[in-house]
Amino acid sequence: MQQNIWRFRRKNTSATSGPDLVRECGEKLTDPALWGQFQFRFERLIFLYLIRALRCRSFQEDLEGIVPDLAQEVYVRLVQHDGRILRSFRGTTEFSVMAFLARISSSVVHDHLRQAATLRRRAQVVPIDVARESEQIGKPQADSPEFDSTRLSAILSWIDVERVVEGDPDRKNAQRNALIFKLHYIDGFQSTEIASFPGFELTKSGVDAVLARLRKRIQQ
């Protein structure tokens, strides 16, 4: 698996920091040189966030066909209303720029899929026989809103975590550790992935240690 993974390296060949570049673009919306730099630095990131946002929402169609259009929409959102979003950016780190672009990309994907779903619903005609059959069986369809495959595991995990948090000797970080536990065991994140975010304030071995300790406590 490891050989199939690339670490994403942000392009940072310019003297201007990412946050400063974002702010400058917000001040100079029509500066082609500045926006050329923005595109050079962040286009791949925008593509990546769009790809991931689409995949997270189980988008199965042609990614290469739709992502460039959505990327254009990201740029539109950045500059619309006289660059309000760009000018509202207050981040100071490269991560804050990434998070900023990720949020916008996510929002663009969300809106696109919602609009597409609306169009599909309007175009969809359910045959009367299918509707009756579904009614007689009394079984909710897989894509109906009542169906929640994670409900059971969520309840179970809530009970477990209550125990974990209450018994964790690291009282100061009990909630964080419980969150890490859930992210790993319920949401499927590896310790490396969790440790890559500075907000958890742990290295990979630190995350592993937390997981090992909590696992042991649950087993007890």
């Binding site: 670490r7 994403f8 997270c56 991560f95 975590v161």
Partner: protein
């Protein structure tokens, strides 16, 4: 959110700020407490963790490379297109400049007088200096103004141009005559008149100078010049016109009427003829 109350659900920027470690300790603690119990928010946190992960699996990497290549090709193509468009624009601008300059050159050359005679003709085409008719003068209505006549041209510059164009004495005389500068016009015209084979036009114009100078001693000389012109060329209409004007001013109404009729016999169609007809009618009343 789960049953227990752990505050409001977290906003997107709070989630990403949490991942960045930017949150205030109190807010961070409250957020963690919420995230532990709220599956929805934790799911949302996980979503941003997946989005922001710095690991790129091979399938993502392939798509990303294709998209980047596609974008790069598009940019290069756009640059080339805009370069080509710029090149075309430059050619178009250059062509337009050449065309305008050429057109102006041709037009200026075509409107630029090539001879002193043309300078005089152009000036005569702009305004009629007096009642009498100079040779070759196009018909214009007489505009009477209260103040001094404004010729509307820089005659000092034009005089230099006349010299440059090697104007002869007739042309110089006409040039000053149309400015009503009789003191300069008459000597030139008299000089032209003394030349062997002086044309009807020269006699006519000298007669006009005499007539319009309003010098009583020269009025009779004016009539002589018009008659001389008509002797040289009996169909020379301007001289016939001017002779009629001379008779009018002299108060010889009958002779004036006759002369206008003679004139109309020579020219019944032009605007000068219309004026002549009007003056004849005026005398008949």
């Amino acid at each position: 959110m789960s049953g227990r109350d752990h505050g409001q659900c977290l906003k997107e920027d709070t989630l990403t700020d949490y991942l960045e470690g930017r949150l205030d300790p109190a807010v961070r603690a409250a957020s963690e407490a919420h995230l532990v119990v709220c599956d929805n928010c934790r799911s949302h946190l996980g979503y941003f963790m997946r989005l922001l992960s710095d690991e790129v699996p091979v399938e993502e990497y392939t798509v990303l490379e294709n998209l980047t290549d596609q974008s790069h090709r598009q940019r290069v193509s756009t640059t080339l297109r805009s370069s080509a468009a710029l090149y075309k624009l430059l050619i178009a601008v250059a062509a337009s400049v050449i065309l305008i300059v050429s057109a102006r050159f041709v037009l200026e050359r075509s409107t630029e007088p090539k001879s002193a005679a043309e300078v005089v003709q152009l000036l005569l085409a702009q305004h009629r200096p007096f009642e009498a008719r100079m040779s070759g003068e196009p018909h214009l209505a007489i505009v009477r103004t209260r103040g001094a006549d404004e010729p509307g041209a820089s005659y000092s510059l034009l005089a230099a141009e006349m010299t440059r164009l090697s104007a002869n004495s007739h042309e110089m005389g006409r040039f000053y005559l149309l400015q009503k500068d009789f003191k300069r016009a008459i000597p030139y015209l008299e000089m032209a008149e003394r030349e062997v084979g002086a044309s009807s036009a020269v006699h006519n114009d000298l007669g006009v100078a005499y007539l319009e100078s309003e010098n009583a001693t020269q009025l009779s000389k004016a009539a002589d010049e018009f008659r001389h012109a008509l002797r040289t060329d009996s169909s020379f209409a301007p001289a016939a016109f001017n002779l009629a004007v001379f008779y009018e001013r002299a108060g010889a109404t009958a002779q004036a009427e006759t002369q206008w009729k003679v004139y109309l016999g020579l020219d019944a169609q032009s605007e000068w003829a219309i004026e002549a007809q009007a003056r004849l009618q005026g005398l008949s009343r």
